[in-house]
C-alpha cells in the first residue's frame, strides 16, 4: 500500500495512474477492507482451501467501499439482462448509467435549453466542472444538436486563444441573429493573465442587457471538483466578478465515467456499428462486453468505434450476436491472454448474453 498525506498528494505522485484512480481511498476504508479473512487468516492451516471464498469477500468489500476498479466489477455485467439504451440517454447520444448522475444532467440540460427556447433578459450563464474524460464537450455538442436549426453553437477553447482572437470569437457569438449556445472550455486557462476575464465579463451580461440571445457555458476540469475550480477562478483578477454573473442554480458537475458508463458506451458503439453496416446486433456475449469495458486499449471513443466496427464485421450474416471471439482477429494472443487472466473470476460471463434494445 502506498500512503500519502492526502488525495492531492497521491495524484501528484509520479507513478500515479488515472486508470487506477478508484484505488485512492481513506486509510480507514483500507483498514476495513484489510480486516477481511483474505488478510487476517493467512496463518490458518486451511487458508488455501478457503482462499476462493475469502477472495469473493475481498471483492465484495471493495464494491461496498464504492470505488472498486473496473476489473472487479464483473458482477454488474453478470446481472445485466436487457439494456434499453434510450433509458440512459441524457440528450442525443450522451448516456449515463447511474440514475443520480443521469437525472442531474437532464436537469442541467433542461436549464440550458430553457434559456435558448425563450429570451429571458437575465443572465443565462452556466458553470460546468467535468471530471477528465467525462465528455463535457460531447454533452454540450449533443445539447446543441438537439436544438437543430433553432440555435447556433459556438465552441471556444480559452487555452488556445490569445486576447484578440478570444474577443473576436465572443463578439461573433453575441452578434448572431439566432439564439446562441456558447461553450467556453478550459475557462481557467491562462491563469497568470488578466485579459481572459476582462474580455469575458461584458459578454456575460449580453443576454441580460437584451443585446443578444445567448447562453454561455463556462467549463473546466481543474481543481479536482466544482468547488476547487471556483476557488481557482475566484483567485484570479476579475474572477469573483465572473462567478457573480453565474446563478448558483446553474452550477453543475459531470461525474467521472464509471464502469456502467463504459458498458453503455460499448453497447452503443456495437449497436451503431451494426446499424452503419446494415447488420442488426441484438445480443452481446457478456465476456466480450467485460473485455471492452476494462480494456485500456479502448479508452478513446475513436478507438472503441473502430474496434466495434471490426467486431461486427466478423459476425456471420444471419447471426445477430457479437461473441467474445468476434472481438479479435483469429490467432490474436490478446484473446487467450485476457481469458487466462479472468477465467477464475468471470467464467459465468461465457455463453451468456446481454439483450440490446435501442
Amino acid at each position: 500500500m502506498n500512503l500519502f498525506r492526502s488525495e492531492e498528494h497521491a495524484r501528484r505522485w509520479p507513478l500515479y495512474s488515472s486508470a487506477a484512480e478508484d484505488y485512492i481511498l481513506p486509510i480507514s476504508t483500507w483498514l476495513e477492507i484489510f480486516s477481511g479473512p483474505l488478510f487476517r487468516e493467512r496463518l490458518s492451516p486451511d487458508y488455501f482451501e478457503k482462499s476462493g471464498e475469502y477472495l469473493a469477500q475481498y471483492h465484495a468489500a471493495l464494491r461496498d467501499a464504492g470505488k472498486a476498479s473496473p476489473y472487479w466489477n464483473y458482477p454488474l455485467i453478470a446481472e445485466l439482462d436487457t439494456v434499453r439504451l434510450s433509458r440512459y440517454r441524457v440528450v442525443g447520444r450522451y448516456t449515463r448509467f447511474e440514475p443520480a448522475v443521469l437525472n442531474e444532467l437532464k436537469d442541467a440540460r433542461n436549464r440550458v435549453v430553457a434559456g435558448l427556447e425563450r429570451h429571458s433578459h437575465h443572465r443565462e450563464n452556466h458553470l460546468l466542472w467535468a471530471a477528465p474524460g467525462s465528455g463535457k464537450t460531447f454533452l454540450i455538442e449533443q445539447v446543441a444538436a438537439s436544438l437543430g436549426e433553432s440555435a447556433d453553437y459556438r465552441e471556444i477553447n480559452l487555452a488556445k486563444q490569445d486576447a484578440p482572437r478570444f474577443e473576436q470569437k465572443l463578439e461573433a457569438a453575441v452578434a448572431s441573429d439566432r439564439p446562441v449556445l456558447c461553450l467556453v472550455d478550459e475557462v481557467d486557462a491562462h491563469a497568470g493573465e488578466k485579459w481572459p476575464y476582462e474580455i469575458l465579463m461584458p459578454h456575460l451580461d449580453a443576454n441580460a442587457r437584451g443585446e443578444a440571445h445567448i447562453v454561455i457555458v463556462l467549463a473546466g476540469s481543474s481543481g479536482f471538483s466544482l468547488e476547487g475550480m471556483k476557488q481557482r477562478i475566484a483567485g484570479r483578477p476579475k474572477g469573483a466578478d465572473v462567478l457573480s454573473r453565474i446563478p448558483n442554480a446553474n452550477h453543475f458537475t459531470i461525474q467521472p465515467l464509471g464502469f456502467g458508463d463504459r458498458v453503455l458506451v460499448a453497447l452503443s458503439q456495437l449497436h451503431e456499428a451494426g446499424a452503419a453496416l446494415g447488420h442488426e446486433i441484438q445480443e452481446v456475449e457478456k465476456l466480450g462486453l467485460y473485455y471492452i469495458a476494462v480494456s485500456d486499449r479502448l479508452a478513446s471513443a475513436r478507438q472503441l468505434q473502430e474496434f466495434a466496427a471490426a467486431a461486427v464485421e466478423r459476425v456471420p450474416r444471419g447471426d445477430d450476436r457479437v461473441k467474445y471471439d468476434h472481438l479479435f482477429v483469429p490467432g490474436d494472443p490478446e484473446n487467450k491472454r485476457f481469458w487466462i487472466d479472468v477465467s477464475n473470476i468471470a467464467r459465468d460471463l461465457v455463453n451468456s448474453y446481454v439483450v440490446l434494445e435501442a
Partner: protein, 64 residues
C-alpha cells in the same frame, strides 16, 4: 504482508506504522489494534494501490 494488515500478526497488541508520504516526505502515521483504528495522522491521509486493472496486461494474476 500488507502494512495495513500487519496487525493480524500481533493479535491484541497495538501496532503503529510510520512512513513518509511518497509525495512530500512528511510523516504519515497509522495506529491500529485488531479491528480498531486508534489514529490516523493526518486525518486526510489516503492509501493508493495501483490496481490489477492497470497491470493485468503485463501478466499479473487476478489474485491481487
Amino acid at each position: 504482508m500488507e502494512s495495513l494488515a500487519v496487525r493480524w500478526l500481533f493479535p491484541g497488541r497495538e501496532v503503529a506504522v510510520t512512513t513518509p508520504c511518497l509525495d512530500c516526505g512528511e510523516v504519515v502515521t497509522v495506529r491500529m489494534k485488531d479491528e480498531d483504528v486508534i489514529s490516523v495522522d493526518p486525518d486526510t491521509a489516503v492509501g493508493y494501490q495501483i490496481s490489477p486493472f492497470v497491470q493485468w496486461r503485463e501478466g499479473s494474476g487476478a489474485f491481487n
